[in-house]
């Protein structure tokens, strides 16, 4: 490039000044380009570095604490004896209620908006509303639950309330992913189904839902991975932080064999347990907090990986 320009420069003495300016500008622009490229790479590396620092910090502090006993013990005033039994069981139970709340509502709303809704003002309102809900801070869901579920409906500070709170909070995620999955089904499939005499519900039952199930499942898992790490809304509804017992078992040996008492029981979840430990001044409890953090992080990571895997497998399977 330089040789060419110099040759032109020699040739073209009348335009010499023009070409000289070009050269300087060119060098400047090339430098800017290089600088930006390096800057971009550094930015990425720095961000990933911070993530790694976080993981390392957690692991180096908390890893020694992760033993079988840690999972099987209740919290205690003695840091060395405190475990997360009530916390992870609580998380598990709350996730079940969250899923039961968010899945039917989310899929139902997604199917309605994609298959039935006409383009009128009410549909537009629902869509705007979902976008808005997605941006509401999680703690506000906690406040709403406190006023509505805990006080007004008298569900109390229970597992049921917790599950409902988180379920409504992740509802927009499920709806959006369900809609995307349904929208990816080509319309020619629906037309083929209708042309064979199927009703709208039959078309949804036999085609729309089965073909979008992979995408929907991905969305559900991602939303649960968000819910499992949520602390603020659950503290707001009054999840007590020292729970040294498990919720009532849903199955028993006496009639009626299955009961729902566990829904009304007080509870704790892993993020709250971690918050509780880190709020204590003794550093031994901080070790417990780090260990809980590892478990939480590991679970969230695992769920995200499973979701990505399902999405990948499903995309490969669905050929139109």
């Amino acid at each position: 490039m330089e040789v060419l320009l110099t040759a032109k420069q020699n040739q073209d003495s009348a335009n010499k000044d023009l070409v000289t300016v070009d050269l300087v500008q060119l060098k400047k622009r090339q430098l800017m380009n290089q600088v930006f490229s390096v800057l971009g790479l550094l930015t990425l590396l720095f961000s990933i570095l911070v993530l790694l620092a976080l993981i390392w910090d957690l692991a180096s502090t908390g890893a020694p604490r992760i033993t079988k006993e840690f999972f099987m013990q209740f919290p205690s005033r003695i840091p060395g004896k405190a475990g997360i039994l009530s916390a992870w069981v609580g998380s598990f139970c709350v996730m079940i209620v969250t899923a039961l709340c968010a899945i039917p509502l989310g899929i139902g709303a997604g199917v309605y908006l994609e298959e039935y809704a006409r383009k009128n003002w009410f549909t537009h309102l629902i869509e705007l509303n979902i976008i808005n809900l997605a941006g509401v801070p999680s703690i506000i869901f906690g406040l709403m639950s406190l006023g509505f579920f805990v006080q007004k409906l008298n569900f109390g500070q229970s597992l049921l309330t917790a599950g409902l709170t988180l379920g409504l909070m992740v509802l927009p995620i499920v709806i959006v992913t369900a809609r995307e999955a349904i929208r990816s089904i080509p319309n020619s499939i629906r037309e083929a189904s209708f042309a064979l005499g199927a009703s709208r519900w039959q078309t949804i039952k036999h085609h729309v839902l089965p073909y979008s199930s992979g995408g929907i499942l991905t969305g559900v898992i991602i939303s649960l991975s968000r819910a499992i790490g949520e602390t603020a809304p659950l503290i707001t509804i009054g999840a007590v932080t020292f729970i040294a017992f498990l919720p009532t078992s849903p199955v028993s040996v006496v009639w009626p064999f299955i009961n729902f008492q566990w829904l009304k029981d007080p509870f704790t979840v892993m993020p709250i347990q971690m918050f509780n430990w880190i709020s204590k001044p003794e550093s031994e409890f901080h070790v417990n907090a780090a260990a809980t953090g590892i478990v939480l992080l590991g679970m969230t990571l695992l769920m995200n990986i499973v979701a990505i895997f399902i999405r990948y497998r499903f995309r490969a399977k669905m050929k139109w």
């Binding site: 800017m32 990933i48 976080l54 629902i126 509303n129 993020p271 918050f275």
Partner: protein
């Protein structure tokens, strides 16, 4: 045999088979509609709860005192209810977070979109998105026990609880919100714009700055608004590392309290339902809701304006 599958007569409009079919289809539609409408009910529930619990508060505290007061001490004997300290804490932590997230996120997005090879991008982008998947309580731990000591080594006057560490961690947490959406928007800019710019002798950097970023402006501004919303609503990082001292200060080395951290603090306590301290969390929540709602609406409006121009 063929009678089973071949329809020989059309059924009359009032016939039993027709009515039953109509009813079944309408029933399904109704159930699904209810699911969709439930989302509207959730918003209604939020608004109703926040407002109805806030009304009694304003019977005891004037709106003027609330908006302009510089002391927030709801649990004290002589309780004061000025929201400014909480607003200050919220905006300070958000501001610090945005100083981190917006430049880093945008540059990262530009690099991912314009400079990186697609195969490498497929790996790096999900890793970056992991930053958003970390539970916020874990970030709180990180802010308190890693970032703060680190900062204290650099600036010894920083207190054990401070807004700077919280703000920085919030910033890193929301980088993916900025970078993912911005990158999507940048990649959606048609290639022929880039080609036109490069063909005129512009460098890749110039093309990115002058062509791609303006072309993706609608998506990028949406990403920014989303990030702002997220930062405003962040709770646990500040609750753990920020100190929970409602004081009106612009000094990030000090502890402070955000609206969200305050709500968490009071919820852990044992304030009786109906007391003014209890009501104060709803008022704080209402304030936060109004702020984030306004930002969401602003974001949608910006998006619409830009799309109309295109």
């Amino acid at each position: 045999m063929s009678q089973k599958i071949v329809l020989t007569h059309f059924s009359a409009p009032g016939s039993r088979a027709r009515r039953w079919r109509w009813f079944r289809e309408k029933f399904v539609e109704f159930i699904l509609f209810s699911a969709a409408a439930s989302s509207v009910l959730v918003t209604a529930g939020i608004v109703w709860t926040l407002i109805s619990e806030s009304i009694p508060f304003f019977k005891n505290v004037s709106l003027w005192d609330f908006i302009t007061g510089t002391e927030w001490t709801p649990t004290f004997e002589n309780a004061k209810f000025g929201i400014l300290p909480l607003l200050g804490g919220t905006f300070l932590s958000t501001f610090i977070g945005l100083i981190v997230a917006i430049p880093l996120g945008t540059i990262a997005a530009a690099y991912l979109s314009e400079y990186m090879k697609p195969q490498v991008r497929e790996i790096v982008k999900p890793i970056l998105e992991l930053l958003a998947a970390v539970p916020t309580v874990v970030y709180g731990y990180f802010a308190l026990l890693f970032v703060t000591p680190l900062l204290q080594q650099l600036f010894p006057q920083i207190q054990g609880f401070n807004i700077l560490a919280a703000g920085l961690v919030i910033g890193f947490m929301i980088i993916p919100y900025v970078s993912s959406l911005s990158e999507d928007a940048m990649r959606a800019v048609p290639n022929h714009f880039r080609e036109a710019s490069l063909a005129l002798g512009a460098s890749q950097f110039q093309t990115t700055i002058r062509v791609v970023i303006p072309g993706a402006f609608s998506g990028i501004s949406s990403a920014y608004v989303l990030a702002i919303s997220r930062a405003l609503g962040e709770t646990m990082v500040v609750a753990i590392a920020g100190g929970n001292q409602p004081q009106l200060t612009m000094d990030p080395t000090q502890p402070a309290a955000t609206i969200t951290a305050f709500i968490v603090q009071i919820s852990q306590g044992d304030l009786p339902h109906g007391s003014i301290g209890y009501q104060s969390i709803y008022v704080a929540g209402l304030t936060l809701f109004v702020i984030t709602f306004s930002f969401n609406v602003l974001g949608l409006w910006i998006r619409k304006r830009i799309q109309e121009k295109e």
